[in-house]
Each structure stands twice: as C-alpha cells, then as structure tokens.
Symmetry: C2
Subunit: 443 residues, 2 copies
C-alpha cells in the first residue's frame, strides 16, 4: 500500500518534551520489546512495516523535521518536504504530486493519508489496508475511516453514516459538538473522524489542479509559499458527494495531551524517578540525569527536560498551550541533520554546549562574526577543518576558533564535543555558511 503520514507542527501541548525544534511524534516514550524506547513515529512506522513489508511510506512534513525523521527511521523512508506550513490540503496535494512525479505512482493506485501520531495496534493498519483496497475498487472518490466512539467526546469531529454496515455512504459530517450533542450523534450511529482518507491518486491530483495553478511537483514545490492555508476537509471533503466511510472498532487513542499520553505509558515513570506509596496515578517522564522525587501526589504528571519542568494535574494538562506560548526560553536541546546539541551552561558573555555528532556526519563549514569558540573533544574520533586545515581529533584534543575563522567538525565515529562560545552578542543568527575546501573528504 501507498501511505502518506502527515507529520504535524511543533506540538507545544507536550512541553517540555516537545518544542519548536522537537515535535511530540519524535519523543521516545513507548517501551519496546528489547526494553528500549521508541517514538510515536517509530512505533507507527514499525507497525505499518509489520502489517505490510512492501508498504511505500511517505512522510509529509516541514523542513525542520527531516533530520529527526531520517535519524529515527533511516534513510529509506520517503519524505515530501513542505517548504513552509500551509495546512493539510496543500500538504496532501504536494505529497500526491511527489508520489506521482517523483515516486512514479500511477493515477489509478490507491493512496491512504493518515496522521503520524495515533496510538493504535496493528489491527488499525490492517484496516488501513482494507481502506486502500476499497478506495482502489469503489465507485466512491473518497473512503474515510470512521472510528467507533467509546465515549461522547467533544474533541473530535463526527461522521454520520447512512447505514450501520462495515462500509456505508456518508450521510453528513458534524463539527466537534458539545458532550450532550455528541451523545445524540452516537445514538444515531455516528463515528469519530480519525483524519484518515483513502483515494485513487488521480482524484486528489485533479482536485489539486482544480484549486491550484501548477504544472507538476517541482512547480508546486516552488510556489508552495504562495498557497492559501486550508484544510483537506474544507477544500475537498466538504465539496465531495461521493464518499464512503469504513468502520473501525479497534483500539485508537489520540496522543495529543499529557493526559492521554500517560494513559499509553506501560510504567509510571521513564528516567530517574522515585514515588512514595502515597502517590496515586502519578506519571514521571524525566530526561535529566538527576532524580525526580514525588511525595503524596494524586493524578499528576511531572516531566523534566533540558527545556523546563512541568508539574500538572492530569486534566489541567490539556490547557497547557497558552502558558507554554508565553515561555521565552531559548532552545536548550535540538536534533540536527548531523546529530544533536544541548545547551549545558549560560553565562552573560558565554554559552557552553554539548555537541553529539553521528558517525559519518559533520556540521556545515561555517564561521561566526561575533564569537570565539573552543572545542574540547570528550569522546570519539573525527576531523576538524579550521581555516582550510584538516586535523585528526580524538578525546582530549582542543581546537580554538577565533571569530571570523571558518570551521567544521566531521565525525568518523560517534563524536562528542564540549563547545564553549565566548562573545558579547551570542546568537543563533550569527552564522555564515560556506563551501568546504575540495581537499576535504565529507565521509
């Protein structure tokens, strides 16, 4: 099957684990069989591949997530990169053009579009396969997945089917209702709209050409920033009469808030945590290397990361976003194409960072106008290039880079470096990238 996973935005609702540079789908929070942890995107990708080893998976996402995706899923996963954020219709149109023009998927083939972050079991992806088959064979232009509601939720849109067969024509869509109205919908046989659409590729390409003036993938990519923000629901689904819905009755959870996320955790804590016996329904997710001690708490989630510390009543955790929006905290941890960095100390005219480079990767060759930098290699092997001169480095080596001098570091093995930045005006914007000298081998 062809499956497009929509990998959304910054996800501040899981602060302090998610931030502008790390979305919730990349947080390693689910226990794996070998006692490690995997992220939502890793879990979903593994489940798809286990149901259909031949599945062609394309992740539709923004530039800022591409490194994290390749770090977590490897280099083979397809990525349709959105040059900027323009909501789901432009994203799906771009992914459709990418599948057709770049991946060579035929117009008659079925494509399934699905959010990247449902917490589900494999039966969900088996259902997606059936959804794809139906989209390929049906007269309908769109086949949606309708999830059988387990309670009258006010958080989801509802689909009212014509009948209660496994596959039915759609009678009408309903926006997020109040709990009371949700109860009425459910009595009428309504299903939750899980945000999953299946269609023949040609259908969405035609709708895209109807609404956007473009030639092919390259052209659409080039003018992406000029497109209007609009959801697939508003742009396509609402105007389409010929829609079917397929029921799904298996486990399905939306991992949007700390409350729902902790429900999916297998143990009460990840990372260093101690709870006394008077704690009841407490979850701790601690990314720091010092312990969290909880005493006498009830229905509380605690999360600590290099970005900050959240202590919240579980129900209240749904209302976190405006508070996090107010936090003007510099980014303390980020995944990059070459590895990751963590800010470990900030003083008035200096900043200290731990840089971790993945084997075979290196930073861009760059210089800073307003700060000196000093690297101390703490483990691994690699090469530095400073002002065109290449040097082997390993643990204990020190490299000094005065302001203005171009430099980079290339990792032969996994490599960790303590970087001290010294200057009166330290900023992420003070960076000039340039070409690496021809004599230097990248990998």
């Amino acid at each position: 099957m062809n499956i497009v996973l929509l990998s959304g935005g910054s996800g501040k609702r899981l602060w302090p684990l998610s931030n502008d540079s790390r979305s919730k789908q990349f947080i390693k929070i689910f226990k794996t069989e070998d006692d490690g942890y995997e992220s939502m995107v890793q879990r979903v990708y593994r489940q798809i591949k286990s149901v259909d080893g031949e599945a062609v998976v394309t992740i539709a996402t923004s530039k800022s997530q591409v490194s994290a995706i390749h770090n977590q899923l490897g280099e083979n996963v397809g990525v349709s990169v959105e040059p900027c954020r323009r909501d789901t219709f432009p994203a799906i149109a771009l992914a459709a053009a990418y599948l057709h023009d770049v991946q060579g998927v035929a117009e008659e083939e079925a494509v399934i579009v699905c959010p990247v972050d449902p917490y589900v079991e494999e039966d969900y992806f088996e259902a997606l396969q059936r959804l794809g088959s139906r989209a390929g064979a049906s007269e309908a232009n769109l086949v949606l997945m309708g999830i059988e509601p387990t309670y009258p939720s006010a958080k989801y849109g509802y689909i009212i089917p014509v009948c209660n067969e496994e596959i039915s024509k759609v009678s009408v869509f309903k926006e997020k209702p109040t709990e009371e109205i949700a109860r009425e919908y459910i009595a009428e046989g309504a299903l939750w709209n899980g945000g999953v659409f299946a269609f023949r590729l040609g259908y969405v390409l035609r709708r895209a050409h109807d609404l956007i003036d473009f030639i092919g993938y390259e052209d659409l990519y080039g003018k992406y920033d000029t497109l209007t923000k609009i959801s697939f629901d508003y742009a396509v689904v609402e105007h389409e009469q010929n829609i079917e819905v397929m029921r799904f009755a298996g486990m399905w959870k939306d991992m949007g808030t700390w409350n729902t996320l902790t429900e999916a955790m297998e143990s009460n804590s990840i990372g260093k945590a101690i709870m006394n016996e008077q704690c009841d329904n407490v979850h701790v997710v601690n990314e720091l290397n010092v312990p969290v001690l909880c005493m006498g708490l009830k229905d509380v989630v605690v999360s600590a990361s290099p970005e900050g510390i959240l202590v919240s009543d579980k129900n209240q955790s749904s209302y976190i976003k405006p508070y996090v929006d107010e936090i003007d905290q510099q980014i303390m941890f980020a995944e990059k194409s070459w590895g990751s960095f963590q800010v470990i100390d900030i003083e008035e005219d200096s900043m200290t960072i731990k840089v971790t480079l993945n084997p075979g990767h290196g930073m861009n060759y760059h210089s800073h106008a307003h700060r000196d930098e000093i690297w101390t290699v703490v483990n691994g092997h690699g090469r530095t290039v400073v002002d065109g001169i290449e040097c082997q480095v390993s643990a204990g080596d020190v490299v000094q880079m005065p302001a203005g001098v171009p430099h980079t570091i290339l990792a032969d093995t996994r490599l960790q470096v303590i970087e001290v930045q010294i200057g009166t005006d330290i900023s992420v914007h003070d960076k000039m990238k340039m070409e690496l000298p021809d004599t230097v081998r990248r990998k």
Copy 2:
C-alpha cells in the same frame, strides 16, 4: 552579648536544595529589603547585629561548613570548628573552651547558645539579650528560653515552669509528647523548649571538665574524635536542679521541613516559575535556569536544583528523609573555600564542570593520577600555575593539564572556568595536594 550559634548537619529534609555539602541554613531563600535573597544564617546574623552591634557571634560547626560561613558572613565572624560531629554537648564544650582560651571571654561572662535556624523577628534577639543578662545576674546555673506554644505540637520538647511569671524556676522537662498529651501540658502552662541556653561561661567549662578529661581548647580539639556523642540536654540540663526559664511570646518558627519553610516565604516562587489560576497554595523554589510550569496543583511544593527535583504534597514533605537517603546521586553543586563548582555534564569517560572562583581566592595546588583536565576561561582575570609555570589568563584562554601535572588557578577578579575532565576513572578521591612554588603570589 556573647552568642554561640549551633550550625547543624546535612539537613536532607530540604532536598534538593540541601545536601551533604550544603546545609539548609545556607540556602538563600528569604527576600531582603533590596530585593535580593538571604539565607537563614545570614538573616539570623543580620538580626543579631541589628539588636546588638557589639554582639560577639561564634558559630559552632563542622569543617565542611566553614567556607560557606565565611562566604556568607565575611571573615570577621568567630567559628569554633568541630573536627567531626559529636552532638551538642561536645560542641558546646568546645565552643566554651574556644571562647575562654582563644577569644579571652571571662568565666563570669554570660554566654547564650542558640540554634542557627529559627525563623524569628528581632524581638527574639532582644529576648536573648535579656536571657543573657539574667544568666549573668541570676543564682541559677542555666536560663532557658521557653516559647509560648501556639498549638499542641508533637514535634517539640516541653518545659513546665513552676509559675507563670516571665521568669520562673523549671518544674520538669517533658520529651516530645503526642498531640493529646501536648494539649494537657499546655493546659498546665507548659512552654516549648526552643533549644536556647544561657549560662555564665565558667559553669559550662566546669561541667565540661567534670565529664571530659582535657586541659584547654587545643587539647579538647585534639581529642575531639574520641568524645562520646551526647546532647547538652542529656549531659547537663537533666542533671541540673538550678534552672530557670524565661518566657518568649513572639513569632518563632522552626524551618525544618519544606512545609514550614514555604510558610515563611514572602512570595509563592523563587526563580523561574509559572502557575495557572487553578493552583492553590503552591510554592516553587527553582534554582535551575529553565522554567517550572505548574497547572492545577493544590498544597504542593516544587523545588528544582542541580541535585534533583522534588514535587511533594506539603504535609508529606515532612517524610522526605528516608527517600533522600536512598538517592545515590553524585554531588552536582558545592560551595568551596575558594568559590563553588557545578557539574554541568556527565558522560561515560568525561565530566564537565563550571568552576566559579571568588576574587583573591584560588584552588589548592594539586594533580590527578587518572584524568586530564582542560580549562576554558569564560570570564574574569586570574593566573594559572601549571607544572610550576605561572600564566595570566582571561576569557577565551585555554589551559591543558595532562594527568600527573600539578596545577591551580588563582582569581584576581571573579573568575569562571569550564573544566572538562577526561579519563576512565574520574573520582573526587583522585587528587594529590602539594605546596605552591614559592615564586607564586597567592593573592
């Protein structure tokens, strides 16, 4: 007046702010008039000096606290250093010998002994002055302070006076009772024992010579580790018939737990903290430079420091000690005679530390057998001595010290250094101290 402040042990009950190297009395938690913060010891010292500018203050404490005391109170405060911990009777005996033999206090002079950490106002120290005057003039050998109880506490010992005059003979002492029995004591006119004793110096010296075989201060100091651990109450107070108690009716709080400490805080937070409107009676003390966000909590204290994070129901916070005892966390922050250090990163074969030196101070001249060290100066001016060679250093300078090479750094101004330690067996015990070459000027 002569006043001896007993500065006690490690105080794990205020973890993560207090630890083996930082006792609760040194935590800067009380707002000052100029909008800074002061510690319990600073507050008490300031209050004493405000009531009696001529007061001679001696702090009886262990070696490990001497640097913190001088850092917080300056060099002029008297310190009677206990070579090891031996409970309050040996500590008071040693302080008495110190006052007599080192400070030249006469045997007829009154001395007041008081814990270093009561949360009180200046009227308390005015009462201490009256207590001292009474001890100097009275026929009684001991004059104690009796605090008028505000509730039937099971946490304190009780003193039952003979009458309800301001000064009375003591009828009997009572150990910590149950709440019910405390209620009966209070009905009989009992007072809390606040751990304050006043006496003529000669009296305690005679009791010390009765119980310990020693000549003078030097001799007692030398054999201190051979002394039996015993409290002043058991060794002296219980055997003395001729005791008076003086009432005190002012504000008096014991700062032993997070619960009582937060009651004394003027605002609900110290450090970066955000609370939503659904928070009720929540206090945050955050020493980290990232924010703590609290949502929908009630009666909770949150404290974050480089050592760890506490999230506790306020009543439960009294039971913290056994849990903290179990934490096997390396010390992440410590005050030293020359300044302080903070561990900012730990990897398998390396550790990174931020060292802050106070102006005019320097480390010991020392070497390590099993690790290399690299210093990067991030601000300030000073001098390094490496293998006997002295060098001026300032921001941006890098100094490399291979294993075995003796080194130190001396601060001319406040000086901060990022120290990277690299080795397979990094331990605080791997340190050989030696004499600084004669050619090097200490300050």
